[in-house]
Symmetry: C2
Subunit: 162 residues, 2 copies
């Protein structure tokens, strides 16, 4: 009886230990999220709309400043294709803060984008801020589900027609 | 000995059960986050900059479209005070999607803001989208840590001076 009880004790203890959820791998998650950001930068600077779309979840919502909302892969491909058709685009991304909890993460920072018209003419530089939400997928990878950016510059005043 | 072992068994089992983390109260969290949104709307529509600031964490970052970044309570109070000094402001907020995981949540939606100049003149309506990240605080409450909005409307073209 004593032996059986001792054995149960060990089985119970090991069952107890294995039921404790594993420590979340925070540094692994933050590193995976950095890789998603790097993939975005590489795809964007290759002006490859399909590759850019790969960082997003199937139902992702992209809300670019001054742009209509693009929801879902096809809309995201189309909006980037429209940009890359018109411009040679380069982006520089500077992350400020990234955090993760459970299956949600976010990344905040600034960017500078240089757009050189393919039709000729001088390049234009847009500077702004971004806030991106990511979701851990069923396969463990991280995808962007929400992507917003804006500029701190007030829109140019509308001429009053006087 | 048998009694002692049985007792240890019970103690171990109860210890094991209490070490299991409680089920996250998702609906409770979503309801708390709705309340934060409602508090923002009420404070904003009362044009009370101090009350608006109460929904944010101490180090929150507010990135309003066309506005400089406001970080921290005083900067957030000041930027709303500047708005409310100049305008009678009303906001209508329509949440689209809210999600929570662990200690991070986010809320996405649209808004329409009506600004009536106190100096007189017609009211202006701004419509846009918002993306807000919230963090569970040490006391269990939820505070906004990141707040971004923008407009889907392209900025007015800059007159070319010709």
């Amino acid at each position: 009886m004593k032996k059986i009880l001792m054995l149960s004790f060990v089985v119970l203890l090991s069952g107890c230990m294995s039921s404790t959820p594993p420590e979340p791998d925070r540094s692994g998650d933050l590193s995976a999220i950095s890789s998603v950001r790097d993939s975005f930068i590489a795809a964007f600077n290759a002006n490859d709309a399909e590759m850019v779309a790969n960082i997003y979840s199937d139902d992702a919502v992209v809300m670019g400043g001054g742009q209509p909302t693009a929801q879902g892969r096809q809309a995201i491909v189309d909006s980037n294709k429209a940009l890359f058709d018109q411009f040679a685009a380069k982006i520089l991304v500077t992350p400020d803060f990234t955090d993760v909890s459970g299956d949600i993460a976010y990344d905040r920072g600034t960017f500078a984008m240089e757009l050189t018209p393919k039709a000729g003419g001088p390049a234009v530089t847009n500077e702004g801020r971004y806030l991106v939400v990511l979701q851990r997928q069923a396969d463990g990878s991280w995808k962007v589900t929400n992507d917003m950016d804006n500029s701190a510059m007030a829109p140019a005043p509308v001429p009053d027609g006087k």
